[in-house]
Symmetry: C2
Subunit: 308 residues, 2 copies
């Protein structure tokens, strides 16, 4: 039986000033998200359940651009995207442009489990959630003072807050469970100041999120538009399946030779069923953490490697 692995990320980007101001706080939050996933595994949950739990924890934490703490769009409102995929059977669920529901990744899971569809957007996604036992939260639940300040400065043409980045803070998790199954989950508020209705890479299967036991599980983050054009997560799996690359090499090729040449910055959070992990990025930072079995929880932000 493989040793379970949980990896989480809190986004990649190049914040103003070269670094974020609250590294300790972010490391602590990433650790807690890993623990939230670990607890699910310890209680007998599978990779999919654990990935969902880790992402839900980060959605509820206002440090990240997902769930509560999401960036504001050009109308000053929150619209959230999320997806998850089970590497056992390629089942998927996703939502886009969601608001008024506490945990987008939980709605994506309900789409996976209870809908004939895989991606629901906007008011349709909200209606689906309300019809499947989820309670509404006021739209202001997801709106934090910090994001109001950043959005207002950007609207007024003021220089960005030091340590801030318009796209930093998407969250994701990839998990390997003891049965050898992998899963991926990603959730985001998208890009600060985005056009109302903009859908990024996170909820698009094969772009921001992908999982397939024979190849890998990937949660991508960074310039969503470039990640979509590169079909980055599925490209990683294809390089493994058809070009015979190892996980780390495949991820490197996607970041350096697919995303970079299109002018994008990104981080890939990836693992495979053999227990290999890779977290390459071509941005200033990639906020991530992980744990092998019940070992120490490791974190990395500007460090190139995440050493479990």
């Amino acid at each position: 039986m493989p040793e379970p692995i949980i990896l989480v990320h809190g986004g990649a980007g190049s914040p103003a000033g070269g670094r974020i101001r609250n590294e300790d706080e972010v490391r602590s939050a990433l650790e807690s998200a890993v623990v939230a996933g670990s607890e699910v595994i310890e209680r007998g949950g599978d990779a999919l359940d654990a990935a969902q739990a880790a992402v839900e924890w980060m959605e509820d934490c206002e440090l990240f651009n997902a769930g509560r703490g999401s960036v504001l769009n050009d109308f000053g409102e929150v619209e959230m995207d999320a997806a998850l995929m089970d590497g056992r059977d390629k089942r998927v669920g996703a939502v886009a442009g969601l608001s008024g529901l506490r945990n987008p990744i939980a709605i994506a899971r309900a789409v996976m489990d209870h809908s004939p569809h895989v991606l629901l957007a906007g008011a349709g996604a909200e209606r689906f959630a309300l019809g499947h036992g989820f309670d509404r939260v006021p739209r202001h639940h997801h709106v934090t003072e910090r994001q109001i300040e950043r959005w207002s400065r950007e609207r007024d043409g003021a220089p960005p807050v030091e340590g801030a980045d318009a796209s930093l803070g998407t969250v994701g998790a990839v998990v390997l469970d003891a049965a050898g199954n992998v899963a991926a989950a990603t959730s985001t508020g998208g890009l600060r100041g985005k056009h109302v209705g903009r859908v990024g890479d996170s909820p698009l299967i094969g772009s921001g999120t992908y999982a397939d036991n024979p190849t890998c599980a990937v949660s991508a983050t960074g310039n969503g538009e470039v990640i979509i054009r590169a079909v980055a997560a599925h490209e990683t799996a294809a390089l493994i399946a058809y070009k015979g690359l190892g996980l780390a090499e495949a991820c490197d090729v996607v970041v350096r030779e697919r995303i970079g040449p299109l002018g994008g910055e990104a981080g890939l959070l990836a693992l495979d069923a053999s227990g290999e992990i890779a977290t390459p990025f071509n941005a200033g930072i990639f906020q991530r953490a992980g744990r092998r079995g019940t070992g120490r929880v490791a974190t990395a932000i500007s460090e190139r490697e995440l050493e479990l």
Copy 2:
């Protein structure tokens, strides 16, 4: 200089009774769509312009489930998805859940040309279009008597109209121009009776639509949810790029070994920069047509091969 090729499709499916009732009418419409694309090439347009023109023609033709003639969702309303991709530079544009704009593929093109984003959904896509010179059409513009009748029968539990299929009639085009560039475009009303907000494979880059000069251009149609899970269009390109398969073999593998095992029916419309074409399907019919240069326009519906 390669000889230009235009391929179009009007959807794949397994209609009640095994065949559609209006084959002659559909063949004639497909021929006209090919000619609409050809005229663009003859006037010096490129593959992208020609693919867009062919799809716009089919959106305006009420025989197909795209633009006018789109199926109705579970509220009895039209929500349309569309995407296009330029194989030269991997530029993309897409819209989802659109209503009230005449040609979704034209809005997708405007997203490609004038937005920093690649996918806009719902009211946000409408706002973008109105801000970029497009006129609103009344929502009833896209609603036809034929689709009202089919939707009403389904709602009332009556057996489907002979020749009808809830998902048949998505449209798409793939084009090779004289400069050796390929492009793909897809547009759809989705699945009849779909949940409000459901997004299918058509607007998702790598799933229903993909184009990249070194590999191929693909427009997929069929069971959208399965096409998304298989990341079908990008999987085709990956089998060519990394496994060394030819276009026809790659398309066959995707239809038979990727989409079939997930329980889906689909048709792939594909070509590459060398002038190879492939149009495999595992459904009852795949409505398609094509032309090489200024040659004869060929059509195929239940025929296995499209012979140009």
